[in-house]
């Protein structure tokens, strides 16, 4: 399946289904960070908070 088609298919899912995918993506990010495969992003998070504040 092409990327645009896949994106369209994912975009057409219900909000509930998309949230479940978001949760899986988030958990995967956490696992990667916990395994030390990717540096966790304290600086980015801090900057983000400052930007939002």
């Amino acid at each position: 399946m092409s990327k645009p088609k896949l994106q369209a298919r994912l975009a057409s899912l219900s909000f509930s289904e998309k949230i479940k995918i978001l949760e899986k993506l988030r958990d995967r990010e956490k696992s990667i960070a916990a395994a030390g495969l990717r540096r966790e992003k304290p600086d980015n998070v801090t900057n983000e908070r400052k930007a939002k504040a």
Partner: protein
Amino acid sequence: MKAAIELINHMQADGIIGNYAIGGAVGATFYLAPAATVDLDVFVTLPSASGTPLVSLSPIYEFLKSRGGKVQDEYILVGDWPIQFLLPNNALEEEALREAVFATVEGVATRVMTAEHLIAIALKTGRAKDHIRILQFIEQVAYDPARLSDIIERHGLSAQWTQFKNRFLEGRNE
């Protein structure tokens, strides 16, 4: 997420918050293919804020802490989701909160900012990740261009929009 939204609705029913709307990456997910995010941005109004110069989010934190929420800096962890509560700090965010649309997550009602307001706020915020999100809206044709133009013009973002288009969309059709 469902548990977090149920608690937020509970806070609203108890009068701790007034109106609320989901923004940020989770809000964008209502319109787009899901993209990884680590937190939930919730814009709120506080009923007690009217007419008083000082506002505090502490009633929200106290409510959620009493129901198992854990404070982590400016986030509060509800279930697995770090939530950041934000007060609208300009006319654009106030309008976005006011005009948010209804949605449901696993049968629980909630409100999400419109696609056009999410784009305009991202444009105003202007970080790299905001630009990426705008491009996702454009690539996935997930907004109303006329409505976005109206918002951009009314909120004084025309110069930023032109700059964004020149930088990222030059040579392609929107």
